[in-house]
Subunit: 517 residues, 2 copies
Amino acid sequence: MSEASKARAGRRGRGGGGAARRAQRSAVSFETAKYIERNVPNFEVLTEEAIAIIEANAEQVLEEIGVAFVDNPEALERWKAAGAEVTGERVRLPKGLARELIKTAPSEFTQHARNPDRNVVIGGRNLVLAPVYGPPFVRDVDGGRRYATMDDFQKFVKLAYMSKWLHHSGGTVCEPTDVPVNKRHLDMLLAHMTLSDKPFMGSVTDPDRARDSVEMAEILFGADFVDQNTVMTSLININSPLTFDATMMGALEVYAAKNQASIISPFIVGGAMAPVSVAGTLTQVLAEVMAGVAYSQLIRPGAPAIFGTFVTSIDMNSGAPTFGTPEAAKITYGAGQLARRLGLPYRSAGSFNGSKLPDAQAAYETANSLNVGLLAGVNFMLHSCGWLEGGLVADFEKFVMDADQLGALHGIASGVEIDENAQAMDAIREVGPGGHYLGCAHTQANFKSAFWRSDLLDYKPFETWEEEGGRDTRQLARLRVDKMLADYQQPPLDPAINEALNTYVAEKKASMPDAFT
Amino acid sequence: MSEASKARAGRRGRGGGGAARRAQRSAVSFETAKYIERNVPNFEVLTEEAIAIIEANAEQVLEEIGVAFVDNPEALERWKAAGAEVTGERVRLPKGLARELIKTAPSEFTQHARNPDRNVVIGGRNLVLAPVYGPPFVRDVDGGRRYATMDDFQKFVKLAYMSKWLHHSGGTVCEPTDVPVNKRHLDMLLAHMTLSDKPFMGSVTDPDRARDSVEMAEILFGADFVDQNTVMTSLININSPLTFDATMMGALEVYAAKNQASIISPFIVGGAMAPVSVAGTLTQVLAEVMAGVAYSQLIRPGAPAIFGTFVTSIDMNSGAPTFGTPEAAKITYGAGQLARRLGLPYRSAGSFNGSKLPDAQAAYETANSLNVGLLAGVNFMLHSCGWLEGGLVADFEKFVMDADQLGALHGIASGVEIDENAQAMDAIREVGPGGHYLGCAHTQANFKSAFWRSDLLDYKPFETWEEEGGRDTRQLARLRVDKMLADYQQPPLDPAINEALNTYVAEKKASMPDAFT
């Protein structure tokens, strides 16, 4: 750790020293769109009456049924001190307590990236897009479906870095199963920190790993900077229904204490972890998120917390979770309304689908969910690209297919311009009945930015398409994956920081025996 | 025509006589969902200010630039009599004239089907779904891409009849290119009338063919009934920009005079037939629709007319039209607002895509447009399934794939229930922290109707899916097409009417030489 300490001590502010600045100037730069700032309204499915009922019911759940904080005596003490009624591991919150505690959580916050141009503001009318999280398998055209490795992980980090419409590098883009369970978070963080300059997520699988995440962030950003600023947004799942386990809460405690952001997120397959009804699920989601965010504020008032909602439906014939479905859509819209009422940033939606292949099913279900996410007012969309097979698989081709579609979300979110140029009255006069606009002055002046254009999909004439082999989307995507990985160039990083990070990881790994479960 | 007249005269009201009723009782019936009655709000992208500007600009276009009514001296006379300024074929409408004339058009109307259970109400908060219209080619897995025939057409009519989420049989589902141009409308109408009992569209390719459509409808429904009720909704395209040709207007004149509905629809590839900006395109669309609907009211005040908007974007690199794009989405949302301000039913959106195959591109683009259509307040969605390759191809597999996804639209549109059962508080109490809902009383009582379920997509475990051949959506759809066509049973029809329709078609065809252009 001595190298790491030296690097921290020797660092002069963010962005590194002169060497890094020189490297930055000479590097190829890849365009990343700014996070989405919506200029369109949100779509809202709940009436005022429905909101009032759901909010009252959620308070009732917290007071009467309560939530369980498992294996976590300190949490129970904190709750007692805050005025909750604690019986065994059950915590019952008097009406109004959670809502009162939540008031200190910010309605929006900046997550800093090591490249300040990549900073994101999470909350308000913004939408930040991050890739798939968690699959143990990967798939691509050539290799088929297989366990994910660290090599796959690094490829995904590179693809995310080079994807114009992704604002965030994410976290466990896939599980690198060839690295011991207790060490893989180190390699994953190292990849995010060194192969990309976009913001990233910390480890949550153990409080110690959360602490490692913070220490590595302190090497990258400087310890003072990390204490004063949010540089990680991490995923804290609630063990629905109404249960907060010690592992996730332990990670939350580490992050909140350090002013790092947590997504407090019920993980719900409807009909299994929540009632089969939309209103019932929203009630439980609200109660769970309120308890979780309130708890984060008991750790450190003002620590950023995001209202998370991972909800999907179930196929009652087979028990399989199903995605891109209307019930999930309605819950996602409704939870957005509830999040805004609490003044919290909102996380939901993604490239969800249950398909085994990046085919039409995958795309229908994904497009359904992505569009819902945009209109539901989601502020942080995890899983926005690459998800396949109910989250079991991170698919390389689907990653770039979805990432391309995220451009369309940017286009819709920009809203409708109405200035004189947009009104185009001179063009309508110039062309008149029966003419055409292709050559008119207004078209010439505006066509470059007028229409969003896919960088992937096929717009060619049929004959050309056929001559080129009649390729489907997956085959086009495969070529794009190869091209992006071939073009990839590592963003510059102060060599001292790079060395310190590598040393930290090597020393940490050497200090522990391997664990594979 | 004598047989037809006899059949009309001999017909005792709608639905046919005792023979038909007996046939009905013994027939297999296929479930058709009721048209969508939205219980969710519309999504609106235009501010009040933007609406005011666009409406003022459209009036300015009509007054200053005007519209052209080509090769149609009678139309010019009608416009003169109504107070327009006519110069050559140019018709300029004083501000307010079109909006005033439009007031007699109904805000909603019933289109009757020969099976009254299939009647649809077009307008209000409703959404009626109809299949693809117009492709000269068809495609399926086995036969590839080829010119469409009458056999293909009949198959599509059967598939539409058997598709639960389709409310309408449509019109030119594909072009039966093996039938002479001047006769194919007769075979198409006969197929809609005899192979299905859902509502359908009339021919618009010539005023004479519109008259044939009315005469065949009179055989099917009775002449008095047709005069008093709307039994056809037909597609009247505007030759954008700002041009109304004699063929389409001739068909409109026939239908409006008979109280039959017309969709007055600008056909716009943005940047070619309208300005490249959203606001400019909406201005032109509004001006065109206002002129067209106003003209329909000059023919017969009160004749049903639909505010149509077919708008897509263009790839400025290749000139190809592009689909499922953000600009098309914004125009579709905005045009819905303008239609509601005029108090007219609204037609837009569909299974639009530019892909050559029913692959992920096709599904992304289609899902984008279908979701927009639902939230934009569309009342009549033509092309809601089966569209491929920019409308050049009607694809059999995509037809059933899209038709299945239309079920999800029904699910979203139903909105959120908030009664005591939906609140599910007893379930949350029963299960409590750490339990699960699969076996609880509320789940048992509600699971059958809780979640929309695809009839097509793959929800199987990976291993099962792999053992069954690892099929993609297209292959699953192929099986479904075969199954549906094998299961098809013709809906019962009074044999006298059936005979009269066949005789009418045979006599009409015999009365004309074949024409192929």
